[in-house]
């Protein structure tokens, strides 16, 4: 039966010392219960000697214990003083090295902003440090928001431009684009491809402009319209068939990924089906 190591490092050190003493005496191994009992006795002996010595020294109106106090405590506890010298001079004594003090790893200040204030004089050094200055210092701003018509209008316009530009670039980078030039470099002027494919048929790009999307008058009406479109589209296709072959096909390709390592833009990876063995 193995008992868990005591969390108190002092205690575990004492346990090691006690076990080395037992080994010195002649034991090869020991019951963990027995070892714990002996360790407990050793600890309580040391503590009792210290307490008793302090009591004696305070009784004599002193502050620091002297050797006589310790002798008196030993006498009171019944520990013989006589044999100590011979015991100290025994030949086969074992000395354990003092336990090394581990240096507490300094917490790396990852989110370090600003300088921390030093401890004022009345605060001890072993107390925690002051927090970062940004956590308790704030500068109230007194600038009024810009409300004149001109700058607000300008800001709105530039925002609109930026939004449009960003959105179109995003769709161009992630979707099909139409290359204006024959070169493979599609980064110069990416145009979003305007060919729509629906149900295997190629629809004209201006179709959305023709369809009423805001109001659906009747469900049936909506169903009819696609069929009409298909038939008309077929006629168109027949006309353009020859032309389409002759014409250079629109250069459509996906925009070259400029090494965008956006995790949301990576292709989907399906998990491989794991074949479970039949038991």
């Amino acid at each position: 039966m193995s008992e868990p190591e005591p969390s108190d490092p002092l205690r575990s050190c004492l346990r090691m010392a006690v076990s080395s003493l037992c080994t010195e005496v002649g034991y090869d191994c020991a019951d963990s219960t027995a070892l714990e009992t002996v360790t407990e006795m050793a600890q309580s002996l040391i503590v009792e000697l210290g307490r008793s010595a302090r009591a004696f020294c305070e009784l004599a109106s002193r502050v620091e214990p002297v050797s006589a106090d310790i002798v008196l405590s030993m006498v009171e506890m019944g520990i013989p003083v006589q044999g100590l010298k011979e015991y100290a001079m025994r030949s086969n004594r074992v000395t354990l090295p003092a336990p090394a003090q581990t240096v507490t790893a300094k917490q790396t200040a990852i989110l370090h902003t600003g300088n921390k204030k030093r401890h004022p004089g009345h605060i001890q050094d072993h107390l925690p440090e002051m927090p970062d200055s940004h956590s308790y210092i704030r500068t109230p701003t007194h600038r009024q928001p810009v409300t004149d018509y001109e700058s607000v209008r300008e800001k709105a316009a530039s925002q609109k431009r930026d939004v449009e530009r960003a959105l179109t670039r995003f769709i161009a980078k992630t979707g099909k684009i139409h290359n204006l030039f024959k070169t493979d470099d599609s980064n110069l002027f990416p145009l979003i491809s305007c060919e729509k494919e629906e149900e295997g048929m190629k629809l004209p790009p201006y179709l959305d402009a023709l369809m009423f999307k805001d109001q659906v008058f009747e469900e049936d009406e909506r169903e009819y319209l696609p069929k009409k479109r298909k038939s008309s589209h077929n006629d168109m296709d027949d006309d353009d068939e020859d032309n389409v072959d002759k014409k250079a096909k629109l250069d459509e390709s996906l925009a070259e990924v400029e090494n965008i390592d956006n995790p949301f833009l990576r292709p989907v990876r399906l998990p491989r089906p794991v074949k479970t063995p039949v038991k």
Binding site: L21, L35, M41, L45, G50, R54, S67, Y87, L96
Partner: protein, 145 residues
């Protein structure tokens, strides 16, 4: 005037020595402890020899436990003294338990096996018998609930 002290120094516990040693007046400066029992003299000599002594129990451990009890001292010899006392106690206890263990093994081997088991294991039973002599009762529950 010097009184001669005839009895030799001995470590016999049963006969505590209460004779006094009185030194000549010329030697007063050499020995600051003028009228003290011999045991105290010996003890104070012991303290001097403990100057650089390394105990099995490290001094830091003992000093920590002593500070828990309220005894804080800057003198390392006192800490060494305490740890020595504790060590001696433990060693005596362990040797008593070992004696019991050997007796038990000897009696067992005479009855059953010929070859003697060389391993000595410290068990709670041996410890309990050794502690009985010191007046400490160790009781162990026969089973854990």
């Amino acid at each position: 005037m010097a009184l001669s002290n005839a009895s030799p120094e001995s470590d016999d516990v049963s006969a505590p020595q209460t004779q006094l040693v009185q030194v000549q007046s010329e030697d007063v400066e050499d020995e600051p402890f003028a009228t003290l029992p011999i045991s105290a003299n010996k003890f104070l000599n012991l303290l001097d020899t403990l100057e650089d002594y390394n105990t099995t129990v490290p001094n830091t451990i003992t000093a920590n436990y002593l500070s828990r009890a309220g005894m804080v001292t800057s003198d390392n010899r006192l800490v060494t003294l305490v740890s020595l006392a504790a060590q001696k106690f433990i060693s005596d206890l362990a040797s008593d338990a070992l004696t019991h263990c050997k007796m038990r093994q000897a009696s067992n081997n005479n009855i059953k096996k010929v070859n003697k088991e060389k391993k000595y294991v410290m068990t709670v039973e041996d410890l309990a018998i050794a502690l009985e002599d010191k007046g400490i009762a160790v009781r162990r529950p026969p089973y854990y609930q």
